[in-house]
């Protein structure tokens, strides 16, 4: 069960401004049935560029409905220029926060608002530009880059929570990681060494693994009073034993998979599988 704030509950159970404005000044249609959520936002804007009325229709879960409802409350009475500055974070905040897996619902609200304002102004949206990265949910690179920047995203999982990209078949994961790295920039500074081209002999492999364990893995483990020993290498299967505090650590499996295996895959061979003795 999701932990929804009272505000989300309230807007979900008694949504405000449901419906469609007849002859609207601007309409924003985002999402689709296949995606699992969709929103149609209609705005009435007066001669002074003030949003005098807003109505919505939403297909989706409680947070999608609540995001839409609170958004209509927020924009009513606002100047169009002001409304254009509303971010998805503003929408989530107005609801007292959303579960992180549901942040894409607030993004949908912001997108619909943008689309409606663009429609009013006679502009086309940046969404129609850009290249589709996630085919399952039709998310473009421009949308993803924007979400990374605006919401300060730092992992592929966060990108999925905010934009839905990568939440279907998962095939675009590498592309998302690349977008994250180029946008954030930090990761790009890590020099990834050339992968060995030739097939290594068993002895070379063992030597290389020992080298990487010594250089990349041990210093970190020793800081916490632990250590690691190479037990055996059989094809791609590397058996290691954790020593010291690591041995009794409840997270030893995570250490092996998330730390040791990642390092060995990065610096020795991408096909290695690390197991604990």
């Amino acid at each position: 069960m999701w932990e929804y704030t009272d505000k989300v509950q309230q807007h979900f159970l008694s949504p405000q401004n449901v419906g469609e404005i007849e002859d609207p000044s601007g309409t924003g249609d985002v999402g689709s049935l296949a995606c699992g959520d969709a929103l149609r936002l209609t705005l009435k804007i007066d001669a002074n560029d003030i949003i005098v009325d807003a109505k919505f229709k939403t297909f989706g879960c409680a947070s999608a409905i609540a995001s839409s409802s609170v958004l209509t409350e927020m924009v009513k009475g606002m100047a169009v220029d002001e409304a254009a500055k509303i971010t998805n974070e503003d929408i989530a905040q107005a609801l007292g926060g959303l579960p992180k897996e549901k942040m894409h619902c607030s993004v949908m609200g912001r997108e619909a608002l943008e689309a409606a304002i663009a429609d009013y102004r006679g502009h086309t949206l940046p969404k129609t530009e850009g290249e589709v990265v996630c085919e399952c949910f039709g998310v473009t690179d421009l949308e993803i880059i924007r979400a990374i920047k605006e919401s300060n995203l730092r992992s592929v999982e966060e990108i999925t929570n905010f934009t839905k990209a990568g939440g279907g078949c998962g095939k675009c994961e590498d592309k998302l990681r690349a977008l994250l790295e180029t946008t954030v920039g930090a990761k790009a500074q890590i020099v990834i060494p050339q992968m060995p081209q030739k097939k290594m002999t068993a002895l070379q492999k063992i030597k290389k693994i020992e080298e990487v364990l010594e250089r990349e893995v041990r210093p970190g483990l020793r800081k916490d009073g632990g250590d690691i020993e190479l037990v055996d290498v059989d094809g791609d299967f590397v058996t290691v034993a954790l020593r010291g505090t690591c041995k009794s650590c409840s997270k030893s499996q995570t250490t092996i998979k998330e730390y040791v295996e990642k390092k060995l895959r990065e610096f020795v061979l991408p096909s290695l599988i690390v197991e604990e003795n």
Partner: protein, 392 residues
């Protein structure tokens, strides 16, 4: 959540109420009778006797011999034990057959065997049709000399659709292939008689039949080679190490005894309640449809899609009336895609997102069904008023 003291529980495929008789039976083993069944003294011995009796009751419900019953911690452990035992017994065989609609306990294990071994193992996932049924010709063609085990659920947890596991086990046996069935949803709801069947392994879980969570069963047919999953002491005749979860085992024994007594009620009164609920909802709510085969189905399960509305939103409105059910919608799981079972059946996205599973039990009443029938049309109509796709 609005306070609603009255809960209408129609989510029995998720878990069930522990029967009061079951609680009563297990209590002594949580209090004064705390001995270790392996001990030499009488104080432990009487506990060992209680486990023996429970084993007998479980065996009776399944039409098995008590010696064929191994107590485990849950259905998932039983599934893992059976499948891993088969591939350790026949290490040269590298093929597994299962279905696209299995519970994650089997599905994810098979997928892990495939990926974590660098595809040394090959998994055939049998297709289902729009009614959730298997194609027996596809199954027959998939059985090869390389097949180590077939693992097919007896009944589907989401739709209640029943698979012809008796026949499928026979076909596997003829070719010397082991057969496992995840019968977590079937045991206690439909009659099972393993004596004359070719099923080698069967998994079952206590909390789906009014016993507590944390106890399960693995049936291992006499003569079937077996490699334990949990290695340790000599408990369960060396087939599952670890001190027995005595109170829960006693509870499960009592629950199986009750299930036998209530089997007719489940298949008559509960089925009638389910049918009445299903027919009323399909009639009173436009653009609603049943997911899964109409008749080859568990007596307690109805999976209904309400088009153009989303499952989580429906569930939360039902929750306001104290009605508990489940949904195959993406939003309820935290994933972004609807249920793998409904997708495998080709249920359109428009309907899969709005699917609700009602699963009843012997504790449901006519009044409860009346209330659900009365509330659902308004809930769906109100959500459709919000939906940009609803042109009603």
């Amino acid at each position: 959540m609005a306070a609603n003291p009255k809960v209408i529980y129609m989510d029995n495929n998720a878990t069930t109420r522990v029967a009061p008789e079951v609680v009563e039976a297990m209590m002594p083993y949580l209090t004064e009778a705390y001995g270790n069944p392996s001990s030499m003294h009488t104080f432990g011995g009487v506990v060992g006797q209680a486990i023996k009796e429970a084993r007998g009751k479980v065996a009776a419900l399944l039409g098995a011999d008590p010696g064929e019953i191994v107590f485990t911690s849950c259905g998932t452990e039983s599934d893992s034990t059976a499948i891993l035992s088969a591939i350790r017994t026949y290490p040269e065989k590298r093929h597994i057959i299962t279905t696209r609609v299995e519970h994650p306990a089997v599905k994810n294990l098979c997928e892990t065997l495939e990926t974590a071994t660098g595809h040394k193992y090959r998994v055939t996932k049998l297709k289902v049709d729009a009614e959730g049924m298997l194609d027996m010709q596809e199954y027959e063609a998939a059985l090869t000399e390389d097949t180590a085990i077939v693992s097919v659920m007896w009944a589907n947890n989401e739709t209640g659709v029943i698979f012809p596991v008796e026949e499928m086990a026979r076909m596997a046996r003829q070719r010397g292939i082991l057969f496992h069935t995840d019968a977590v949803q079937a045991v206690g709801k439909i009659p099972i008689d393993l004596k004359n069947l070719d099923i080698d392994f069967l998994s079952c879980s206590g909390h789906k039949l009014h016993a507590p969570k944390g106890v399960g069963i693995l049936y291992v047919k006499r003569g079937t080679l077996f490699v334990p999953f949990m290695v340790g002491g000599h408990q369960e005749h060396g087939r599952r190490g670890g001190t027995e979860n005595v109170a829960s085992i006693v509870a499960l024994g009592r629950a199986c005894e009750l299930a036998m007594e209530k089997m007719d009620e489940e298949n008559s009164r509960v089925k009638k309640l389910r049918d009445r609920l299903e027919e009323a909802l399909l009639t009173s709510i436009p653009k609603s449809m049943l997911n899964g085969h109409k008749t080859l189905r568990l007596p307690n399960t109805a999976n209904i899609s309400f088009e153009y509305v989303e499952g989580e939103a429906i569930l939360l409105h039902m929750n306001q009336h104290g009605i508990c059910a489940s949904s195959g919608s993406a939003c309820t799981s935290g994933s972004l895609e609807p249920s793998h079972v409904l997708r495998a059946m080709g249920v359109p996205f428009t309907a899969a997102h709005g699917s609700i599973r009602f699963s009843l039990s012997i504790y449901n009443t006519e009044e409860e069904v009346d209330l659900v029938i009365a509330k659902m049309p308004t809930i769906i109509a109100n959500l459709r008023k919000l939906s940009p796709f609803w042109k009603g």
